[in-house]
């Protein structure tokens, strides 16, 4: 009985979460008139598949998606590499002001993006990076959160492993690459997935540091699509579905890592 109740609640919650996604897909297949009609149409009887080709060709989604992927991959790789390096230093090296510097790292997590927004934009402009891929990627190549997440996972490693590796002749580099990183894989995968989603979904930052259309990412492309296809709202919906598709596939592939990363350390593995 409890199980039935639990599944009822979970089903209801899932429906609430999935409904906007469902309605986006449905709207992409309706005519603009059907979308505007009341009561809303919840199932497309005559699916308008052409909306997808229109969105792809007229919205230049291919180019935008490519840009998004390029920028996202650079950011993910950058964040993972710098986070591992910083986390390793905080977890295994002795240096002056280690604690203080780590607290400063953590403090960056508490400063909202909006506060540094205009300063960063000004910096990027002064560096001459306006309207370049550098502006889209470099400011995001390191995160305090990543260093924190992976440091936790390094610290959770049994202490004698470092001693054993030291006696086995492994220096810091060998220990990091052969022991520490493989053991921290769940956390690293989780960081990669988080940073992928964050980078892929960026909107405001790419908008203010680029004006060249060839540099624009897919989220901005969607807005552009919307403003050019005002009379065809269904095409915008189709573009939205196309833009979300890569994330959806990624989620399916990395779901396990995502959950494992969130619960890493909670259960003895």
């Amino acid at each position: 009985m409890r199980t039935v109740l639990r599944y009822l609640v979970l089903t209801a919650l899932a429906a609430v979460v999935l409904f906007p996604i469902y309605i986006t897909v449905v709207n992409s297949l309706l005519t603009p008139g059907q979308i505007a009609g009341r009561p809303p149409t919840l199932f497309p009887t005559h699916p308008q598949w052409h909306t997808y080709s229109t969105a792809w060709s007229q919205g230049h989604l291919g180019r935008y998606l490519l840009n998004s992927f390029l920028v996202t991959i650079v950011i993910v790789v950058g964040q993972v590499v710098t986070s591992i390096a910083a986390a390793y230093a905080f977890a295994f090296l002795e240096f002056p002001f280690r604690r203080t510097i780590f607290v400063l790292f953590l403090a960056t997590m508490m400063v909202p993006f909006e506060i540094t927004f205009f300063t960063n934009q000004a910096t990027v402009v002064q560096l001459g990076w306006y309207d370049t891929y550098l502006a889209l990627t470099v400011p995001f190549l390191a995160t305090g959160f990543g260093a924190f997440l992976i440091r936790q996972s390094f610290l959770a490693m049994p202490g004698p492993l470092r001693d054993a590796a030291e006696l086995d002749g492994a220096g810091h580099w060998r220990f990091m690459t052969k022991v520490a990183v493989p053991l921290a894989r769940p956390s690293i995968a989780a960081l990669a997935v988080f940073s992928f989603f964050g980078a892929f979904n960026q909107y405001l930052w790419p908008l203010i540091v680029t004006k060249d259309e060839r540099l624009r990412t897919v989220q901005i492309g969607l807005r552009y699509l919307r403003s050019t296809q005002v009379d065809q709202i269904n095409v915008t919906f189709a573009g939205t579905v196309l833009a979300a598709l890569p994330l959806f596939v990624l989620l399916l592939l990395f779901q396990k890592h995502l959950v494992r990363g969130l619960t890493a350390g909670a259960v003895k593995g």
Partner: protein
Amino acid sequence: MGTQQATDGRPPGSEEHPAGAQVEVRGVTKRFGDATAVSNLDLDVAEHEFLVLLGPSGCGKSTALRLIAGLDEPDAGTIAIGGHDVTDVEARDRDVAMVFQSYALYPHMTVRRNIEFPLRNRKVPKAERDRLVGEAADALDLADLLGRKPSQLSGGQRQRVALARAIVRRPALFLMDEPLSNLDAKLRVQTRAELIQLQRRLRTTVVYVTHDQVEAMTMGHRIAIMSAGVLQQVGPPAEVYARPANVFVAGFIGNPPMNLLDGTVEVGGTTLAVAVGDARVELPPALASLAVSTDARDVVLGVRPEDLTVDPSAPLRATVAVVESLGHERHLVCERPGGELVTSRVTGDDDLPAVGEELGLAIRAEGVHLFDRATGRRIGP
């Protein structure tokens, strides 16, 4: 890397077994904050020796081992391995291997990869690596387990993998930090014997840390006993048992432990005796002359349980509190009038006194140990 390399220029994983290195520890002190973990330690380990560092937990024995390994740096003193001062040499360049209490196997690597790891780090060629891993695996009966991960092994098997990883590169010095304490009692006895055989076969020098005196007595050529960071006594097991250097060693070595009774030296006519409460224990002539030559009048009288026998006429009176039967021997735990507990070990099938019965306890003259109560030091040979 400060001074010389400890490896003697010998290529890693070279063919011949290295002569086990000797170890010289001179005046080594290690502090953690205000606490002194190891205080002015002087210790020599001979080539091919199996030396056991024994003491209760927190006595500094594991710290001493880590200092020899190079995992911690001493605040004072020097350490030499194989005649080379390695005080400033990194742990990985000291040519030592260590087996940890928790085994410290790399959980994501197979058994083969674990054993191979020290060789890969030293860039040993693959063919050579395979041969050495094969030998180590054969020596420790791991050949069938090479493809498994540590999580798929039993405690005893993990322990053998840790040993294989340590022996695979033929270190000059083997350090072991309570390697048997995670095994169950039966396996521990078996592995103890295997470790002794392994050490004889490889002829490496071993420094072995334990808090278990049975391990120490059965495994070590010599035992070094530590307490509160200070080395108390070093010697072969039989000597440490027969002539403990001080009250701490007397009470720590032996099971059940030595009975230690406070007493006062009394001169009575031609003989010397120790008054314990209202009882007088006459000292054997050899010990008596020594006791006279020292100033100490307040002493601790030590008697091993096997040297304390039931004798109705003996002056040392006590009441039986507990009778423990271990099958081949019995322990009588008796309470003295002052509340002190003394233990007598009884073998044979003699009728045992009942709990609550008052009896006399006689001390075998050769079994008397005397310690200065002020310093704790042994009086006599």
